[in-house]
Amino acid sequence: MAEPLLALHHISKSFPGVKALDDIDFSIDKGEVVGLLGENGAGKSTLMKIISGVYAPDAGEMYWQGQKVRLKSIMDAKEKGIAIIFQELNNCPNLSALENLFLGHELRTAGNLVDFRAMKKKATEIFSYLDAHIPLGAPAGKLSVALQQMIEIGKALLAEAKLIIMDEPTSSLTDREVQKLFQIVKELKSRGIAVIFISHKLEEVFHITDRIVVLRDGRHVGELTTSEATQEELVALMVGREMQTFYSKRAKQPSPEIVLKIEDMSGPPYLNHVSFDLRRGEILGLAGLIGAGRTELALLLIGAEQKTAGTVYLQGKKVDIRSPWQAIANGIAYLSEDRKTKSLILQMPVRANITMAIHKAVSGALGTLDRKKELEVTNHFVKLLEIKTSGPEQIVNNLSGGNQQKVVLAKWLATKPSILILDEPTRGIDVHAKAEVHKIITDLADSGTSIILISSELPEIVALSDRVVVMHEGQVKSILDKHEISQENIMSRVFSA
């Protein structure tokens, strides 16, 4: 046990124009769980891609169980016992869970046909070990993200991996599923399997890891034993300066005036008699597990899906919103939970994305778009939200996650909404950008915009919300006032009968 399972020395890697990794040392022992932290663009993914054989380093050495190795491909790494579970799960959605588990490694009968019986037996063994109840015949795409992840972990076990890299495994899991994942990580650890755990969520990293490595701008900036580290210390290492407060404070109290009232709203797929109201300048948190119906509620509100029952009042007046354009006309904006697939036209420039919802306002006669007006709006928001872009014509796909999210925010702020629905506004963006988005949200509320905040990060909901609507399985379980808001209260309401 003198030598580590994996050791990297002086690893460097450049891409055109960027030094992604600069002289990195990294090691992990058998049965150790190491957390890897850093803002977006710090070099975490590049490092993981080098360890898993996707990229070859420009310089430096890699030792696997004491032997110097050069990984040629992800297959090569897999053979050695290194498995990676990507944040965006790679499975074939139409193949069954069983077929996905054995994809590329199907067991064969004597006649060289796929041996489903043997595979089923093995799969049952693995999944019962993982304590995951996965219907083997169900198409993988129909399973929850958590179960799909279990298939990936199953794959790693099947390949007898000695090192498993998990890239933000909890980003789309509910709290309960996260707990389950942690159980499994502990189990893997007891089996002597090493785990590299990448996450933006500090609490999780504290909870599960033995040691934490922090990267910043492609350099190794710190390494701490988890039991001795503090949150402030880590954040300071990640952002390179002390952050005063995590969450910005509200300057004003919300007014008692009710701007939106929802009564007994029902709709697909399972929303059931939802009622609540929203006040001017209020941040109303919508808390609940994934699948509680929060996004679905937002889609009904903006008319992207049609409600089957219920009434909506805006400023006391009954409205019937049946389409997103009617929602915008009524001053309601919805920032969707997935910026890449539901918010941005990735190959279009920042300018076109920001003005997407306000074509009328930036049009001249004949429906022609007025470039000058477009640039005015774009430049205003680039400055206001501190969007880091080479200019208004930069293709959005080339921006970092945080800046992409700011572009989406700009698109919706440009519609001058009185009600802004934010669905996971800080998902997948780094700590620094997160703090900026939080500041934007509180500033908006202070200036009188009413905000519905949907977030799976409870600390975010707790810190920002004036009131919290707790939802579960399509129903409102409880509405908490400011003084009642805490993570414990929210979770106990979710699980109360």
Partner: protein, 317 residues
């Protein structure tokens, strides 16, 4: 910013997507001239440009649809039926203007039906327009029983056979439609939305844009462009033939693809489509001038289409 301003003319030229295929067209024309010097003769260029104009105009309509990730397989049949309607009206003694309007209305109506089924009944564009391809062609055969419609009034023939300022009238029609289509795509909100749908339909919808309505209009544009060509062709041939337009959907799609249009939507341009149509026209004409068997033409066009897609893939890597 300064780097951009100081870029050489050559650098600026290559910053356009269409530059590479334009260069390919120039090289192609030079090669054809080398082997068949009469390619560059005035009378040949007149004929080639007229032929290119027909394909290009149909391809403009196809471009609008492909930009959203759709496809219109029915353009050939719409051409044919629009021509039959217009020719039938003229032969039946209706005024020319009314006949033309009826022909154009046919294209718009069939496009409208395509769009409705695709947007609101949510059937795949491939299936809907494949059905329309067969249906419209069937109607042509029912109406004409396979016989050509003749008796086209003399004054109307100028539209297909005459010229203006030494250029064929179909070329002028193409130039005018190209200018309008280019303006719509690059300068209007409608054009921006068309590209946006191809880039990310879901995001476009959630941005408050009535994606369904726009798609219906796009299929109407495609039908309209096809009917324009169908109507000019009756003037060109002095009759409406039952098989006019057969196979033109392939030429139109090919012109768009060779011109750099992505079949998955979101990118492509009118200028590219014109160059694409020109490349096909020059190859066809060049092969004829070089006395290559006409059977080869079809095979060569096939190779060019795939080659264009391969080059596009390499360029985007």
């Amino acid at each position: 910013m300064t780097a951009q301003e100081h870029r050489s003319i050559l650098g600026r030229f290559f910053s356009y997507r269409e530059s590479a295929i334009f260069l390919a067209l120039v090289i192609l024309m030079a090669t054809v001239t080398l082997f068949a010097p009469n390619f560059m003769s005035g009378s040949n260029l007149y004929l080639v440009s007229r032929q290119i104009s027909f394909v290009a105009v149909v391809a403009f309509g196809e471009l609008f649809v492909i930009l959203t990730g759709g496809i219109d397989l029915s353009v050939g049949s719409i051409m044919g039926l629009s021509g039959v309607v217009a020719a039938g009206a003229m032969a039946g003694g209706q005024p020319i203007v009314l006949s033309v309007i009826l022909g154009l209305a046919t294209g718009l109506l069939l496009g409208f039906i395509n769009g409705l089924l695709i947007s609101y009944v949510r059937i795949a564009p491939f299936i809907v327009t494949l059905g329309m391809l067969s249906f419209a062609r069937g109607v042509i055969l029912i109406v004409t029983k396979g016989w050509p419609i003749t008796n086209i009034p003399k004054p109307f023939l100028t539209v297909g056979q005459g010229d203006f300022l030494a250029l064929p009238i179909p070329l002028w029609v193409m130039i005018v439609l190209a200018a309008i289509a280019h303006f719509v795509l690059s300068r209007t909100a409608f054009g921006r939305r068309t590209y946006a749908i191809g880039g990310n339909e879901q995001a476009t919808f959630l941005s408050g844009i009535d994606v369904k309505k726009i798609k219906v209009v796009l299929y109407m544009i495609s039908g309209f462009m096809a009917s324009v060509v169908g109507i000019i062709l009756i003037a060109r041939f002095n009759s409406a033939q039952a098989d006019t337009g057969t196979g033109w959907e392939l030429d139109a799609i090919a012109a768009a693809v060779i011109g750099g249009t992505s079949l998955s939507g979101g990118s492509g341009s009118i200028v590219g489509v014109i160059i694409g149509a020109a490349i096909m026209g020059v190859i066809r004409n060049g092969l004829v001038l070089m006395r290559v068997s006409p059977y080869w033409q079809t095979a060569v066009i096939g190779i060019i289409i795939v080659l264009a897609a391969v080059l596009d893939r390499i360029k985007n890597k």
